[in-house]
């Protein structure tokens, strides 16, 4: 994991990150590289389309800015290789059935390939069978599914990323004190992994850190209120973690409003408000995924699948820790979205 190493102040985390999944040629090592560069690297073996074929991506929603970034990456690849890209997702990230209806619609519209960011890892198995039977290649992205039908999975290792956030927080607070977490969701795999990764890291590696029971809030306003309540109820709190864009933004807001400027807040993902907060010191740092790259690589993988090319089992789109010190580094900046 080269880039992750360089961008992270602590190489061990990054080592973990990239070594866990099966090594893959294209993506995992270059998580922070801009997608077009990443693409151009493999451009030789990505065949151009004729502009008539559609790649249909079913995402988790459009509630978070994150998905807009994924979409941008996907559309960028579509343009570059002359494929049409459809990008849909349910209204919020609990609507599994709605997502499956969308997947069914995707199947009905007979695209050249389908991408799926599954809200639930088990729910889609029937539809995956049908998609396979229809001879449409399917690529998983963002989150995997419990099935070997998808030809590959383009994803962040959320568990490892959460551990990285925890590790940085431990360092920021000097290894002791009370910390809280705001998790954006308690039922999805992503939500759980980001909560569990954080908590388990603390349990295993930070004996002097007390972790408060998590509050769940997937919207900024609610997260802000929850964070503030948590801080007020526990004046000894020294650190706070928010598990996605909304939760982290809310955590920062809660910290600001509570007037506790000592509190170290670490987050997940980016977005304008988190970036601003990190720049002006209200937030210590965050883990970013590589959403644009994730979208880009998903489409590239789909094109390869359409053309019968081999794909690795997992394409790790990577993650990176960023803070005020490296936020403007080109490798980091490329993964941040406003």
């Amino acid at each position: 994991g080269t880039s992750t190493d360089t961008s992270s102040p602590d190489p061990t985390t990054a080592e973990e990150t990239t070594s866990a999944p099966a090594e893959s040629e294209s993506a995992s090592e270059e998580p922070s590289e801009s997608p077009s560069e990443g693409g151009s690297e493999g451009a030789g073996d990505v065949p151009q389309g004729d502009g008539t074929q559609t790649i249909y991506l079913v995402s988790k929603g459009f509630q978070h800015r994150f998905w807009q970034a994924v979409r941008e990456g996907a559309e960028q690849a579509g343009e570059e290789f002359n494929y049409k890209v459809e990008f849909v997702g349910p209204q919020n990230e609990t609507q599994v059935t709605e997502q499956l209806n969308m997947l069914k619609t995707a199947l009905d519209s007979k695209p050249a390939a389908i991408g799926l960011a599954a809200l639930d890892s088990g729910a889609a198995s029937d539809l995956l069978d049908q998609i396979e039977a229809a001879g449409i290649p399917i690529i998983a992205f963002d989150s995997g599914v419990d099935s070997d039908i998808p030809l590959t999975t383009v994803q962040t290792d959320n568990y490892a990323a959460a551990q990285a956030a925890a590790e940085h927080l431990v360092e920021l607070i000097g290894g002791q004190g009370t910390v809280g977490l705001i998790c954006h969701d308690q039922t999805s795999q992503t939500g759980k992994q980001r909560c569990d990764g954080f908590k388990e890291y603390m349990a295993e590696n930070a004996p002097d850190v007390t972790v408060l029971p998590e509050q769940i809030a997937g919207e900024v306003g609610l997260a802000a209120n929850a964070a503030k309540s948590m801080i007020q109820a526990n004046p000894d709190m020294v650190g706070l973690y928010g598990s996605n864009e909304a939760a982290a933004t809310g955590a920062v807001q809660g910290a600001i409003e509570s007037g506790n400027s000592e509190l170290k807040v670490v987050g997940f993902d980016s977005g304008k408000t988190q970036i601003d907060a990190i720049k002006n010191g209200q937030q210590a740092g965050a883990v970013t995924q590589a959403p644009i790259k994730m979208g880009y690589e998903t489409v590239v993988a789909a094109i390869k699948a359409i053309n019968g090319q081999e794909l690795p089992e997992v394409i790790d789109s990577g993650f990176a820790w960023y803070d005020a010190s490296n936020i403007d580094d080109p490798e980091i900046a490329a993964n941040l979205y406003e």
Binding site: V88, L100, S109, S125, T187
Partner: protein, 345 residues
Amino acid sequence: MSTTEETKTEVEHEAKKEGRSGSSFQQLLVLLALVAIYVFFMFAAPNFAQLGIAIDILSQSAYIGVMALGTTFIIATGGIDLSSGTGMSLMAVAAGIFLAAPPYWNLPLGAGLLLVLLVGALIGAINGANVAILGLPPFIATLAMMMAARGLALVISQTQTISIANPGYKNLVQGNLIPRFELGGSTIAIPNSVLIFILLAIVAAFLLNKTLLGRYALAIGSNEEATRLSGVNVRFWKMMVYIVGGLFVAIGAILYSGRFGFVQPSEGVGFELNVIAAAVIGGTSLSGGRANITGTVIGALIMQTLTKGLQMMGLRQEWQLVVTGVVVLIAVLIDIQRQRRANAA
């Protein structure tokens, strides 16, 4: 005279509402709206014009539709049920707990299903008791239940997705009692959920129009005090109506969870609005006293056809929301205008 006409017809409108189930002309109009929407998508959405898509729409609207059948009774009494969405999650989670493999209870299918219905009846009975006995406004009673059910679904599932491997369960909903058949070169399979939906619609129509339950529900919605003074045990029948509502939600939960064989405890928030919208688009009056089962079915189909068609058109999500809002409005408006015109005569 033209300006006068409007205010006057409004007064007259008050004076002449439709009967218990609205006219057959009304049902025709809602049906026409559905057909119009359908035909529109046949031209506007690629690949929409297949029998398979129509079956999809039917099966995807089944659980909302079934819940809407029950809610129709509740609305007929002048009540409302905001707890159907999260109540559905709770019952689906219950189904998971009863039927999934250990550590869950792994009960035989029949017993599990019965218990789910029981949970549905219980939730309905609590709503019913709050409304009929304690006298809470249905909006508040079911709003409280909506919150509580959401919490409980998360509590009892321990926020885990539960997958129900029981093949009989999935088959109940997804299987094909009607054997697959060939038509125009493609294989047509009608999932049982569609049959269940149709069957329950017939049952609901029978209950509403031909039994004491329906008659008293409408009477209560029409004039509760007069119904009470006619010697009708209003509390009892209201309770029954909410229990029936709960049972339909339970069946909705089975259709929902059986479709994919898994249960997600936090889904279902907001479904209640689609459920209510289906009933109201179909001509059931929110002030009670007028209800219409065929209309409810068509209402559910309109909602699902819209969703499916707009998705297949590849319209951006945000525009889908806008369009759905506008079409729901127009669909109900047609009904309103028709009533007015009939009255203006």
